[in-house]
């Protein structure tokens, strides 16, 4: 099976004023809905869940970029999500401990703060690591494997193995990482009480704004010369090489950007949900996000975002309504979308739009 059997024709429709305005109009509508209507209408608990879906949508955006545009099937985004999440979690734990040891170290028998933890007491360092650590790892990995022309299924398996190994590493180092429990029991973020509905509402807005900005940035990237090169690499890597470009660089940069997005999402996840643990970063959660992107439509960035929100919402709703058998429904939803619309919801909408024109 080749991973890029479906190649949408990248033909820009004739730029009439109508089509030109359509995109921004939709974006503005969604922004108003997300930033104004949702916080007013939804109760705090539901708003918190929506914030979580949007956090996942940030990771999905990165997957959409790497997989949909660049043809790199990334099955281990959990690793980068985790690096960002743990960087944030470590900072919050240290701030709360106020010079003492974080709670889990006490019951894990650690007597002295590990050297790895010390710099994370500094908020600037912690926030920088949220993005830099995942990007550095992705760059190193990309530089190694893309130059060796590892691609397709081999690259996918590699990223998946990385996620599996990362989880084992985290669980094994209980004194350093909290083991299976992960890091939990956070009370405040930069002096704000996380238990307050007000704080959670602000967090929601922050998440929504970050997602919006990243989406615009990613769109800009896709429409740039670099974006066209990326699509070209996806559709014919060798041809691009013969034209004198280095596909390894293009892929590494894209992979690093998607990793940075996952890291940032991980950091936002921690105050929104209140926990970061290995269970969130393994093979299965990483796959779930790829599935969400497939459902939403991997060839459109908006599709990736939409997929993450739809799948997140479906998961919550199904499991609340049918506590016993919700996993079957979740699977059925995926199969249904994939058989009826192999290009996901976005593909369906795009086709409809083209036909009604």
């Amino acid at each position: 099976m080749t991973l890029t059997t479906e190649r949408p024709v990248a033909k820009t429709p004739p730029a009439t004023w109508r089509t030109r305005l359509q995109g921004p109009a939709v974006f503005a509508t969604v922004a108003v809905l997300a930033l104004v209507v949702a916080p007013l209408l939804l109760e705090p608990f539901r708003l918190g869940l929506l914030a979580k879906y949007l956090v996942y949508a940030i990771v999905a955006l990165g997957i959409g970029l790497a997989w949909g545009q660049g043809g790199m099937l990334v099955l281990g985004q959990g690793v980068f999500f985790g690096l960002g999440g743990y960087a944030m979690g470590m900072h919050l734990k240290l701030v709360e401990a106020q010079g003492d040891l974080p709670d889990f170290m006490v019951w894990s028998g650690v007597e002295q703060l590990p050297a790895l933890w010390e710099p994370f007491a500094n908020p600037v360092f912690a926030l920088a690591m949220v993005v830099l650590a995942p990007m550095a790892l992705a760059t190193a990995l990309g530089a190694l494997v893309f130059r060796q022309r590892v691609r397709g299924a081999y690259f996918a398996i590699l990223t998946q193995a990385l996620a599996a190994a990362f989880v084992i590493l985290l669980i094994g180092q209980q004194g350093l990482t909290g083991g299976t429990n992960g890091l939990t029991n956070f009370f405040e973020l930069f002096g704000q009480d996380l238990a307050l509905d007000e704080t959670q509402r602000v967090l929601y807005i922050v998440v929504a704004v970050v997602l919006g900005l990243l989406y615009l940035g990613a769109r800009q990237l896709v429409n740039s010369r670099f974006g066209r090169l990326l699509v070209a690499v996806r559709d014919g890597e060798d041809r691009v090489r013969f034209l004198g470009y280095n596909p390894a660089t293009v892929k590494t940069v894209t992979f690093a950007i998607s990793a940075g997005m996952a890291g940032l999402a991980g950091a936002l996840f921690v105050p929104v949900v209140g926990i970061i643990s290995p269970a969130l970063l393994g093979v299965v959660p990483s796959l779930e996000l790829v599935v969400a992107v497939a459902v939403g439509g991997r060839f459109a960035l908006a599709g990736a975002v939409l997929g993450a929100v739809v799948m997140g919402y479906a998961k919550t709703t199904f499991s609340e309504q049918f506590a016993g058998g919700w996993l079957y429904l979740q699977g059925a939803l995926f199969i249904l979308v994939m058989t009826l619309a192999p290009r996901g919801i976005a593909g369906l909408l795009r086709r409809r739009r083209k036909e009604t024109r």
Binding site: E43, W107, G172, T184, F187, V273, A279, Y313
Partner: protein
């Protein structure tokens, strides 16, 4: 072309609409705090994922207790209505569903959790929202949240008696085998401190990831080290592989006895009784524990869920939790959390495991420790008990050898 696009679009639109309807439905149909003549209580266990096999049995026991209490007239004249949620063996999901039960369903209390990780994930939710959680499984101690009642054993009611029994039997060299997560690691810390103070020797300590099933290397290591006994804190499926390998390596319950703290009647069925018969376990309750309350519990459970079902310690602790909460509510005359907490201290009930008393100070239970031997019929026979309920001591403050473990 145009037709086919619509043909695919319509089912999808229908699907999303159904989803929307599902999502909107609870908002209208659920009123706060149950109705006039009912009280909502939450049940939150893993009904899917690796922990489902164990946690479903606890849910069943809790539902049985609710049914029995309702049949006897309910609490404060009101019927209990369970709201069941799936924690999906995923710790953040436990936190999310706990929030949902408290904030949306406005349940009076929640019974739930199994793994320590799920409890640690839920703890901030309950503390922050000042709601009650009843946690039914033995655990590693070093915790006492004002908003959690612990109806399973803490270390001094299970692990310490297990060690005392081994010492009594003259076992001096101990090998520790455990799953790699917080309970085995913390339990082994306690075991090492005990051994050091009691002339016992820990000659090996090995961990394997949860769900690990390849034990030939580890079993070889254990057999070669020639310990007098193995202290086993493996969880779940791993026990199946471990005991099989142990048997095929030629170790018997006589030559190399093991003391397990996470293997109960339900797990014995999975491991295969041939592989584990004769080995030791430490708990507070067995299906064979003799008293009137247990006879009733076992009979009722089999009547409701099938004659081939067994009852185990965590199930009994979950079953007790519902009764203990109901008793506290009756005493308080209200389901209000602070009133229930205040009323709970000192409540005494005859339960299937014997007399259970709530310690008002740390919200753990006084429980009788029992050491058992797995029988060829798959049940467990008690060979030793602590005579009377042991006062819970989650931080092991009453044990001189444990100073330094419990500064938390």
């Amino acid at each position: 072309m145009r037709n086919s696009a619509w043909r695919t679009a319509i089912p999808l639109v229908a699907l999303v609409a159904t989803l929307g309807a599902c999502g909107a439905e609870p908002a209208t149909s659920q009123q706060a705090g149950g109705g006039e003549d009912s009280i909502k209580v939450g049940i939150l266990h893993s009904l899917s994922g690796t922990m489902a096999i164990s946690e479903v049995t606890v849910r069943d026991a809790e539902l049985l207790a609710i049914e029995e209490i309702n049949a006897a007239g309910g609490v404060l004249g009101k019927k209990l209505v369970p709201v069941v949620e799936d924690g999906a063996s995923d710790w953040p999901t436990f936190a999310e569903k706990a929030t949902k039960l408290i904030a949306r369903d406005k349940v009076a209390t929640v019974f739930g959790g199994w793994t320590s990780a799920s409890r640690k994930a839920m703890l901030p939710v309950f503390e922050r929202r000042k709601a009650l959680l009843w946690y039914p499984v033995q655990y590693e101690g070093l915790e006492s949240s004002p908003y959690i009642f612990y109806t399973g054993a803490t270390t001094n009611q299970q692990i310490v008696p297990g060690l005392e029994y081994l010492k009594e039997q003259g076992k001096k060299k101990i090998f520790l085998v455990g799953s790699d997560y917080v309970f085995p690691r913390t339990a082994n810390k306690v075991i090492k401190a005990y051994a050091a103070a009691n002339g016992m020797q820990v000659i090996g300590e090995e961990y394997t990831p949860l769900g690990h099933t390849e034990y030939s290397t580890l079993v070889n290591k254990v057999v070669q080290a020639k310990p007098d006994a193995v202290f086993n804190t493996l969880n779940g499926d791993s026990n199946v592989a471990f005991f099989k390998q142990l048997k095929s390596a030629g170790a018997t319950a006589e030559s190399l006895p093991t003391m397990s703290v996470s293997v109960a009647e339900e797990e014995v069925k999975g491991i295969g009784v041939d592989n584990i018969a004769g080995h030791l376990v430490a708990w507070n309750y067995y299906q064979t524990t003799e008293n009137a309350a247990n006879g009733k519990f076992v009979a009722a459970f089999k009547a409701k869920y099938g004659a081939d079902k067994v009852t185990s310690d965590p199930m009994e602790a979950g079953y007790n939790a519902v009764y203990l909460w109901a008793e506290a509510v009756k005493k308080a005359g209200s389901v209000e959390v602070e009133a229930v907490r205040k009323a709970a201290g000192g409540i005494e009930l005859e339960r299937p495991e014997g007399l259970v008393t709530i310690d008002g100070e740390n919200q753990h239970m006084f429980k009788t420790a029992r050491i058992g031997v797995v029988q060829p019929d798959g049940l467990i026979k008690e060979v030793w008990n602590s005579k009377e309920p042991i006062k819970p001591d989650p931080y092991l403050k009453g044990y001189p050898w444990a100073t330094g473990l419990a500064q938390g």
